[in-house]
C-alpha cells in the first residue's frame, strides 16, 4: 500500500511542471489480463489517474494475437486509442513509418530517458531514424526454468540445478505421475522455449549468428543439431501437458502436477498470486542454469498521433508517468518483470528477481528475438515449433532443416 500511494505522489510531483492539470480521458489498450498482469496494469492506471487524468482501460484478452489486429485496425482505421501496448521491437515499425505514431523525442529528452534507461538497447528498439516512438515499461526475459520443489520432493529427487540435471530427473518425475516439463499449447510457448534452449545450450554467439546475422549455415550446423536434440528431449518430457494457456501450464508447476516450465519471468506473477515463495515453494534457473545471460525483451507503450490537443498532452503525461521511478517499482513488482531504469531500488524483489537483476547488473544481456526477427519470421518459427512439440514423428533433423530454411529467408 505504501509503495502505491508513494507512487501516486511521486508521479504527481514529477508531472506537475508539465501543467497537465485538466482531467483528460485517455484510452489505453493492452492484452494484460491474467491475474498478475491485471494487478500490474492497475498500478499504471493508478499512477496515471493520480496526475488528474483518467486511464480508460481497453483490455482485450487472448494474448497479443487477438488484441494486436484490433489495435492496428483502429490505428489505421483512423480511430486510434490514446496509447497502446506493443512488444517493443519491430511490431510497430511500419505504423511509425506510415506516420501514424507520435514522436516522443521531446518527452524523452526532457526526462533524460537516454541516461536512465538501462540497458540502452531498450531505447534503441524504440528509436527509428533517431526519433523515439515508444516508452519501454519493463524488461522481460524468457530465459527461465521454473521448477516445482514439491514435485521433485514427491518424485524423490533433488531439485535440479541445470538443464542436464533436469533431463536426468525426468524419468523419476514421470514415475511419480508428474509431467516433467509443462509446455502450453499456444504456438509462441513452444517457439519461445526453443529459443531459450538455444541460447542456453549453444551460447550467445551462435544465437546472434543465427538470429541477428541470419546465418543459415550455422542454423543447419552441428551446434544447432545439439539444440534440436535437447528440444527433442523437451518434447518427450512435455507429453501430457493438456493445457493451452501459459498460465495454466504455470499452474501445473504451482500445483506440482508438472516438474518445471520454461517460461518468461512473467510467470512469477502467477507464483506470487498463488502465494508461493521463490526458493521455498519454487525454484528458478535463469538461462536454464547453464548460461547466465538474459534477454531484454519486454513491453512498451506506443502513442498514436492524435488530433485532439488535450489528449496529446495527456499522452505526454502518460509517457512520463510510465517511466517514473515509483511507477516502475510498483508495476514491475506486480508484473514480475525488471524495471527499465537502472536507478530504482527494488528492495522488495524476491529471490528470482534478484537473480535477474544481478545478471542485468553484470551486463550479461542479449537482444531477444522480438527485436531481432520480424513478426513474420517469428510466426513461421512458431508454426514449426508448435508442430515439432505436438508431432513426435517430426524428427529433429527434419525440423532443423526447416528451421534453416526459415532463417535463410528471414528478414
Amino acid at each position: 500500500m505504501k509503495i502505491r500511494s508513494m507512487a501516486a505522489v511521486l508521479a504527481a510531483s514529477v508531472l506537475l511542471p508539465l501543467g497537465a492539470a485538466n482531467a483528460t480521458d485517455l484510452e489505453v489498450t493492452h492484452w494484460w489480463t491474467s491475474g498478475g498482469e491485471a494487478a500490474a496494469v492497475a498500478e499504471l492506471a493508478k499512477a496515471f489517474d493520480a496526475t488528474g487524468n483518467k486511464w480508460v482501460d481497453g483490455a482485450i484478452a487472448g494474448s497479443g494475437g487477438t488484441a494486436r489486429p484490433i489495435m492496428i485496425s483502429r490505428i489505421t482505421g483512423g480511430d486510434p486509442m490514446g496509447a497502446t501496448q506493443f512488444n517493443h521491437g519491430r511490431q510497430a515499425e511500419e505504423l511509425v513509418e506510415a506516420g501514424l505514431m507520435r514522436d516522443l523525442t521531446d518527452v524523452a529528452t526532457r526526462e533524460h530517458w537516454k541516461d536512465v534507461i538501462k540497458p540502452a538497447s531498450l531505447l534503441d528498439s524504440c528509436t527509428i531514424d533517431g526519433k523515439i516512438y515508444c516508452a519501454p515499461v519493463n524488461i522481460h526475459s524468457w530465459q527461465w526454468l521454473w521448477l516445482s520443489n514439491a514435485a521433485f520432493e514427491k518424485a524423490g529427487v533433488a531439485v535440479p540445478k541445470n538443464w542436464d540435471e533436469f533431463v536426468a530427473a525426468a524419468p523419476a518425475l514421470e514415475k511419480a505421475g508428474i509431467v516433467p516439463l509443462a509446455v502450453g499449447g499456444q504456438a509462441w510457448q513452444a517457439s519461445g522455449a526453443f529459443d531459450v534452449l538455444m541460447l542456453a545450450l549453444a551460447g550467445k554467439d551462435t544465437f546472434y549468428k543465427v538470429f541477428k546475422d541470419k546465418d543459415a549455415d550455422m542454423a543447419a550446423g552441428p551446434e544447432m543439431a545439439k539444440v534440436f536434440k535437447a528440444a527433442d528431449d523437451a518434447r518427450r518430457m512435455s507429453k501430457g501437458t493438456n493445457v493451452q494457456d501459459w498460465n495454466q501450464a504455470t499452474n501445473m508447476v504451482i500445483t506440482g502436477k508438472a516438474g518445471g516450465q520454461i517460461m518468461g519471468d512473467w510467470a512469477q506473477g502467477e507464483f506470487a498470486l498463488a502465494g508461493q515463495v521463490a526458493g521455498k515453494d519454487y525454484s528458478c534457473l535463469p538461462g536454464l542454469g547453464v548460461t547466465d545471460v538474459i534477454a531484454t525483451g519486454g513491453d512498451a507503450f506506443y502513442f498514436p498521433l492524435l488530433k485532439d490537443e488535450e489528449k496529446s498532452k495527456a499522452q505526454e503525461v502518460l509517457a512520463s508517468t510510465l517511466l517514473a521511478p515509483a511507477t516502475q517499482v510498483a508495476f514491475n513488482l506486480k508484473k514480475g518483470s525488471l524495471p527499465v531504469r537502472g536507478d530504482v531500488d527494488l528492495a522488495a524483489a524476491n529471490d528470482c528477481m534478484k537473480k535477474g537483476l544481478d545478471i542485468l547488473a553484470k551486463g550479461n544481456v542479449i537482444e531477444w528475438t522480438d527485436q531481432l526477427l520480424s513478426a513474420d519470421t517469428q510466426k513461421q518459427k512458431e508454426d514449426l515449433f508448435s508442430e515439432f512439440f505436438a508431432n513426435p514423428s517430426l524428427t529433429p533433423e527434419d525440423a532443423q532443416k526447416r528451421f534453416a530454411e526459415i532463417i535463410a529467408s528471414a528478414d
Binding site: A187, N242, D383, R402
Partner: protein, 300 residues
C-alpha cells in the same frame, strides 16, 4: 391508323428506376466490398506488404512460400476433411432427423427446439463447451474411466491424428439442427399424394425417399448447401475456441492461416496470397454453379 409512335421509348436506364435505386446498397456491397475487396486482396497478394498494404510487387513470391509452408498444406487437408465430413454428415444426420420428425411424431416442437438450439450459440461458445467435454482430464474420457473402463481413451483434442474430428463433432452439434430444419421444411412441402402413390405402388419407404422425395427437394438442398458450404470455408472461430489450431498445427484451417499471417505475423502479402487461394478455390466451384442457379432465367 393513328399510329404516330410514342413520344419515344424511355431511357433503358430509367426503367424500373425505383428498383434500381432500391438495389443500390446491394450493388455497392457486391461491387465495392465483395468484388472490390477481392480484387484489392488479389492485387496486394503480389506485394510484399507487411503490417500495412504497400504496392511493392514481388511477383509470385508469396504464393511460392505459401505452397511450401507445411502449415498451409495441413490447413488445406484439414479443410478438405472437415468440409467433406461436415457436408456428408450434416446432410445425412439432418435428413434422417428431418425424416424422423416428419413421421407425425409427438413432442415434435420439443425435439425440434432441442435440435435447433445449438444454432443460437456462437462458435466461440460451441468451441469452449466441447473443448471441455472432450478434455481427457475431466470430460468424457475421465467419466468413462471412472465407470471402470480404465483403458478407455478418447482425447480427440489432444491427439494430432484425430483432432480435426473433435472439431467436427462440435461443428456438427452446432449446425445440423438448422440443416434438419431446412430439410424438414422441404419434406413438408412434398405433396401428400406422392406418399400415397408410393405406398399404393408398394415402393419401400427408403426408396421413396431416395429416388422420389430427395430429387423433389432440390431447391431446399441447394439453399442448405449454400449455407453449409459457406460455413465450412469460413470455419475459424470454432477452431480458435476449441484447439487454437493445436496440438501443434494439426487442426489449423485456411481461414486461420489467413488471419494469423495478416495480423500476427504482420505479413499482409502472405495472408492475402492465402486468401486469394481460398477465393480462387471457392470461385472455381461456386461461380459457375451460382450463375447457372441464379443467373439464368427463372421465369420464362
Amino acid at each position: 391508323m393513328t399510329g404516330q409512335p410514342h413520344a419515344g421509348r424511355p431511357s433503358q436506364l430509367l426503367r424500373n428506376l425505383n428498383a434500381k435505386i432500391a438495389s443500390i446498397p446491394m450493388i455497392l456491397t457486391a461491387v465495392v466490398i465483395f468484388l472490390g475487396g477481392t480484387i484489392w486482396t488479389v492485387v496486394y497478394s503480389f506485394t510484399n506488404s507487411k503490417l500495412l498494404p504497400r504496392a511493392k510487387f514481388v511477383g509470385f513470391d508469396q504464393y511460392e512460400r505459401l505452397w511450401a509452408a507445411p502449415r498451409w498444406i495441413v490447413s488445406i487437408e484439414n479443410l478438405a476433411i472437415y468440409g467433406l465430413f461436415t457436408l456428408v454428415f450434416s446432410l445425412v444426420i439432418g435428413f434422417v432427423l428431418a425424416a424422423l420428425m416428419d413421421q407425425k411424431i409427438r413432442f415434435e416442437n420439443t425435439f425440434r427446439t432441442i435440435f435447433l438450439y445449438p444454432f443460437a450459440l456462437s462458435f466461440i461458445v460451441t468451441g469452449l463447451v466441447w473443448q471441455w467435454i472432450l478434455n481427457p482430464e475431466f470430460g468424457v474420457q475421465s467419466v468413462v474411466r471412472a465407470l471402470g473402463w480404465e483403458s478407455f481413451a478418447f482425447d480427440p483434442l489432444y491427439n494430432s491424428k484425430i483432432v480435426i474430428y473433435g472439431v467436427l463433432i462440435a461443428g456438427l452439434w452446432q449446425g445440423t439442427g438448422l440443416v434438419m430444419c431446412l430439410l424438414l421444411a422441404g419434406l413438408r412441402g412434398i405433396d401428400e399424394d406422392i406418399w400415397k402413390a408410393a405406398r399404393v405402388d408398394g415402393i419401400p419407404m427408403w426408396r421413396t425417399y431416395l429416388f422420389i422425395v430427395i430429387p423433389m427437394m432440390r431447391p431446399v438442398f441447394i439453399t442448405t448447401l449454400v449455407i453449409i458450404a459457406s460455413g465450412i470455408v469460413k470455419v475459424y472461430d470454432l477452431v480458435v475456441a476449441q484447439t487454437s489450431g493445436g496440438p501443434g498445427i494439426s487442426s489449423e484451417v485456411p481461414a486461420k492461416y489467413v488471419y494469423d499471417y495478416m495480423f500476427l505475423a504482420q505479413n499482409l502479402g502472405q495472408g492475402f496470397a492465402a486468401s486469394t487461394m481460398m477465393l480462387v478455390t471457392v470461385a472455381i466451384i461456386i461461380v459457375p454453379w451460382a450463375y447457372l442457379e441464379f443467373g439464368g432465367r427463372k421465369r420464362a
